[in-house]
Subunit: 195 residues, 2 copies
DNA sequence: TTTATTTCTGAACCGTCGTTCATTTATAAA
DNA sequence: TTTATAAATGAACGACGGTTCAGAAATAAA
């Protein structure tokens, strides 16, 4: 029998991230993804069920990673709630900084998923945000954070702001130096929600 | 000769907002838009050059309106900088609250435009945000706002947060009552950036 | 009325990919 | 070597939907 050559799954995923990010999901062509991944068009279908499956696999891999990272921050008991919130924000930046194409894809296509309540991706997404909410919860209970702010609103406000700045950074890294971005966001969040 | 029946342009635009918002731009069908607008498929092309033209016209109308509204707030001299910032946030909420379909369309498709620097829509978008930056500028100069925060970052953080909450509200109005959303956002922003 | 002109219609056209599959290629076992 | 089987290929298929356009419908002018 024949042996698999290299890691085609990963090559295809990387190519897909690149093409989806640049063109947007709908305008991306499988043939172009295949070309960049150095495989034949048809080979994509050996590893992925469909174009959509490719997108879903990319996103779910991302969420699983993010969830595991922020969970481990939440679980630490040597950090204050505000440090955990900082860590949460840092985690998001770290993951996307490592791959700006992925960041771009994420901010462009994620909004389209929010609507259909219970698809797999939204479940993961909610798991992720739930940890953010738990951190805020903890801060409120320890009388560090303002308890008059709605937690869901607070968490989503921060999330939206972070996402948008990641987007701008991914498009134009020079205009939005990530260190300053992180620093300012953390400052506003900290000052905005602590008592 | 024949007389035009009713306001087809507006009917088509309203139908397009509805269908684009629900399905997303790429999955929306001109034939469905036409059906909802009560015109024949071909009639859409009497008033709009293409599917894309339809989307662009919707967005540019929106930006023109928003720009005019926030400009008039910025120009008032009976408001403090923080009141202007509140007014800016209120304006965005007011416009989208009046049309949740439009809000949904906006948050879903706007991210796709940010990339190609100098298309018409991005110019409008930047005009809009520039006014937000001017307000922040003013606040800094009057020693009301923290001058250590980067203005572009601050403005975009707020913008991203507001946009995301609008998105959630548009999907699920009951879970995100706009009055509480506005109130919390304004609180965080005010506390976060004032001295 | 009849005619001219504008508006409107919707079936058909046509280009574009996502997807399939008959064929080829590579390697492990015999 | 030869054979069997898994992996890979890419041309061709087929569905979909944006766009077109020949004709129909409506109304103003003649």
């Amino acid at each position: 029998m024949r042996k698999k050559e290299g890691n085609k799954v990963q090559d295809i995923i990387n190519a897909a991230i690149e093409v989806f990010a640049k063109q947007g999901y709908h305008e991306a062509k499988i043939s172009e993804i295949a070309a960049i991944a150095n495989v034949a068009t048809g080979s994509v279908y050996l590893y992925f069920e469909s174009k959509e499956d490719l997108l879903v696999k990319i996103f779910s891999g991302l969420w699983v990673k993010l969830i595991s990272l922020v969970k481990s921050i939440y679980d630490r008991d040597d950090l204050s709630s505000i440090e955990k919130l900082d860590g949460f924000i840092d985690t998001v930046f770290d993951v996307f900084t490592a791959n700006s194409k992925l960041a771009l894809l994420f901010v462009k296509e994620q909004p389209h998923f929010l609507q259909d309540k219970d698809n797999k991706l939204n479940i993961l997404y909610n798991n992720f945000l739930e940890i953010g909410e738990k951190i805020i919860d903890e801060g409120v209970n320890k009388n560090l954070f303002n308890r008059n702010l709605d937690k869901k609103i607070t968490k989503n406000f921060i999330y939206g702001g972070v996402r948008h700045l990641l987007h701008l950074w991914a498009i134009n890294p020079n205009e939005y130096p990530l260190n300053k971005v992180r620093q300012d966001i953390k400052y506003i969040v900290k000052k905005g929600i602590t008592l």
